[in-house]
Symmetry: C2
Subunit: 220 residues, 2 copies
């Protein structure tokens, strides 16, 4: 009784840990932080086969990190709770803080250094003042599922054409899913290349939401 027979507890806990131990599953979780998704949508957005996607989702479901909702023939997956999103964000934070490789990989794909970041408090002030254009570059469905109040939805693909209609003087702030999302940085580069003043929000909607800041949902 003294040599702790609680290996079962650690076994159960390891099930949850394992769920976070695959790049593919992390990619799925990353997408799911933005709102629920069908298997098909996840499969297309990540580029993995449907069988593979389903298998990974089963593992996430078995570890109770996601839940499902059936709608006709398709099944929508969503994170089991905001605490799961928070855990994912915390893991990214720890990885970023402690392992230089993660930082390097991020910098390489995000082009850090070239792109300036705006802090949460500063964005709040600027929105209050109303002298800034806040652009949500994620796909339209993700914008609908939840966005920063005051942001306009311009998916990355249609950014260039939308550019024409704006007054050239106004500063632009972009954001996307989270700290690992490239689109916001790419957008800033595209905009500054065309002579605009643009920066990106620090992190993305996930961290904004977890920080307790307001999020707006477009009613269906």
């Amino acid at each position: 009784m003294d040599p702790t027979p609680l290996s079962e507890v650690f076994d159960e806990l390891a099930v949850v840990g394992k769920a976070f131990g695959s790049a593919r599953r992390l990619e799925l979780i990353d997408l799911l932080t933005q709102g629920e998704r069908t298997v098909d949508a996840l499969s297309r957005q990540t580029g993995m086969g449907v069988s593979t996607t389903s298998a990974h989702l089963q593992i996430l479901k078995l570890s109770n990190l996601v839940r499902t909702r059936r709608e006709g023939t398709r099944i929508h997956y969503r994170l089991a709770g905001e605490d799961v999103a928070a855990l994912y964000a915390a893991m990214r934070q720890v990885a970023l803080a402690n392992s230089p490789d993660v930082e390097k990989a991020l910098a390489a794909h995000l082009g850090m250094g070239e792109v300036e970041e705006v802090s949460h408090p500063e964005l709040l002030r600027r929105l209050q003042a109303g002298d800034v254009l806040l652009v949500d570059v994620r796909p339209a469905e993700e914008y609908a599922a939840g966005h920063i109040p005051g942001a306009v939805s311009i998916p990355f693909g249609s950014l260039q054409e939308a550019l024409g209609g704006w007054p050239p003087g106004e500063e632009i702030i972009t954001y996307c899913r989270g700290a690992y999302c490239v689109m916001a940085s790419d957008a800033v580069r595209l905009l500054t290349d065309r002579g605009r003043t643009a920066r990106r929000l620090k992190d993305g909607l996930l961290e904004w939401r977890l920080a307790g800041h307001p999020v707006e949902r477009t009613p269906v």
Copy 2:
């Protein structure tokens, strides 16, 4: 460029995730939340072979979750930072909240239901009032590495003999490492069986420390 080439980032992140994906490694992390330990000590306390222990520690080291310090012929391992301990605690929290199996496994080994828990604020009040005996049932070295101010160190093994010297009226509150630690609950049962009034602290020292409450270190 559009189909997100950031798989490398997820690969790096998965390295951290994998580290949490093994019951053995979680057991090591659990011990390390209480302070640094040598390979040998970890091997003995967990019951795994030294080679196995070392292998797991290498994986933790590679994922930058632990750091090492050499002292003569032995090497001390410690968590890379308090954020790692926080991540571990957060994972336990999510597992407990979302998966019934974890809750069941915990209840089975902890004897939940029979043992009453004391909240952090209540303990603080009672310590202030001074009408309670706070007992740290962990091994003496863990007590030395950090304990709640006002607690006395009585390792679980020597609890029974220590019992004699106390006034029978005073209420006793026990604690050990964390939410998964059985010793505090076992101690409460041992004490109540002998007619004492005893409860355990909710969770353990890890959660107490993460909550920002004071921790005292016995000077060497």
